[in-house]
Amino acid sequence: MTDLKFNSDEMMTIAASRVLENDDVCFVGIGAPSAACNVARLTHSPDITLIYESGTIGTEPNVLPLSIGDGELCDTALTTVSVPEMFRYWLQGGRVTVGFLSAAQLDKFGNINTTVVGDYDHPKVRLPGGGGAPEIASSCQEIFITMKQSKRSFVDKIDFYTSFGHGEGGDHRQRLGITTKGPTLLITDLAIWKPNHESKEFTVVSLHPNVTREQVQNSVGWQVSFADNLETTPEPTTNELNVLRELNERTRIAHTNK
């Protein structure tokens, strides 16, 4: 509980930060995941190992990086390896416990599109593409996803499978020979979702404070399932909010002075 007022972005970042643990080795996507991972490190998990795909291992940035290759990540890392080594030894080698991703489009089975909107050969919007995500999604022991809900991004059918989540659901991963767990958590600005044990469809397990079922349904392009024992996400603590706000303020100053 806190006396401070907080917004839904802050709730999302803090809820996402809580799901990481001190002994995690986490492959960090840029944007929302990066903020959450660093709030975790600055609150309950000081020894967490954060890895960015630019090759920085065990990095402790004082400000959030604008890109995955900012000098701050290298300056504060335990070690910086080459990009081939990063993908071969550390990711493919199975050393990463959690991959933390975001998406342009997401479906109810945690499949991610960051490649194109529309047809691949004649796209309506050409997005940047997958980068490291296709192999992050299959090589990390499990995947957490964090992103804001909207009808544009939470869609019934994604336009392109940039990274594979649970495919068509059920045992689709195992049928493709993928041995890792895939998406196990989705943290949004409104709720926390977990895949159903059997179907693997993302199900709302916890609503953030003051959020209604209708709000969740109205920002999603499929019929949402809610858990029977639906919980309410604990509010951010004063400490969590202060850590996040100080991090954002340091980041703002660092990036506007350049």
Partner: protein
């Protein structure tokens, strides 16, 4: 024998129309000055390879130099999309380009295979992903020992690779520090390699495991202080984040892009880079 030369000669003697070329740098040490020189010399029909084609390839595509783009992440890092590349892919402006799209793991492995003299790279990748269906270069291979199906992509073997590095010694041995990306692999995979450096020093004065490219792996070196701007050179100057934000506006408009390129690239010189980083120096 490595030859120290000026950037104009380094580019004209090593790059040709129709070449397959890599200008590599993973957010850090991006060879902007070399790319601008290539733009001034108006090369055509290039196959451009890069993991993270950002502003430099956006510029080269917008100037009509690219026949094909081989890549894994085409964005303006921390800002958004590449608007010149989008205009080429979505609207064929200034002309259509061919796309060969991979994942980072595939691209990194393909460079490593090229540097290793192998015909292809083998890795565990693309499981369930959509790219194999749209990129015929992505195939699979079965492990003869375990039966596991693995991904295979052709090795990258550029005609020439361009990189930027912190320093060279007087013999032309080159040192890279910080986020080193795939530059070592890109140089060793290529037939020819051109390096721009911040400075030349008497001794590289480093430790036993530093990332060093011996002079006999390099075709030409040009000294271009600030040559990575608006990316950064670790230990020399910081990333010019505002330039990346500015690029988003410039690249959004064809006329603005064309006039910006004339003023800042076509009518500019390699020596202009030094002044662009004076306010970003961190030593």
């Amino acid at each position: 024998m490595t030859i120290f030369t000026n950037l104009s000669k380094a580019v004209s003697e090593n790059l040709n129309d129709n070449d397959t070329v890599a200008f590599e740098g993973f957010t850090h040490l991006i060879p902007h000055a070399a790319a601008h020189e290539a733009i001034r010399q108006q090369f055509k029909n290039l196959t451009l390879i890069r993991m993270t084609p950002d502003v430099v390839y956006d510029q080269m595509i917008g100037m009509g130099m690219a026949k094909k783009l081989v890549f894994s992440y085409a964005g303006n890092p921390g800002v958004g999309l590449l608007r010149r590349m989008r205009d080429a892919v979505e609207n064929n402006w200034p002309h259509s380009i061919e796309i060969e799209e991979h994942s980072h793991a595939a691209m990194a492995n393909a460079y490593e295979a090229g540097a290793s003299g192998l015909p292809c790279a083998v890795f565990r990748g693309y499981l369930g992903a959509g790219l194999p269906a749209v990129n015929p270069k992505i195939k699979s291979i079965t492990c003869p020992f375990t039966g596991e199906k693995l991904a295979a992509v052709p090795a990258h073997k550029p005609d020439v690779s361009f990189i930027h590095a912190q320093k060279a010694d007087k013999k032309g041995n080159v040192l890279l520090e910080g986020i080193i990306g795939v530059q070592k692999e890109a140089v060793l995979a290529a037939k020819r390699a051109v390096v721009t450096v911040e400075e030349v020093v008497d001794s590289l004065d480093t430790h036993s495991n530093a990332c060093i490219l011996p002079h006999w792996t390099i075709s030409a070196i040009a000294i271009v202080p600030g040559g990575a701007h608006p990316s950064y050179a670790h230990g020399y100057y910081d990333r010019d984040n505002s330039a990346y934000l500015e690029w988003d506006k410039i690249a959004a408009d064809r006329d603005l892009f064309t006039s910006w390129m004339k003023e800042n690239v076509l009518d500019a010189k390699p020596e202009d880079f030094a002044a662009r980083i004076t306010h970003l120096r961190n030593i």
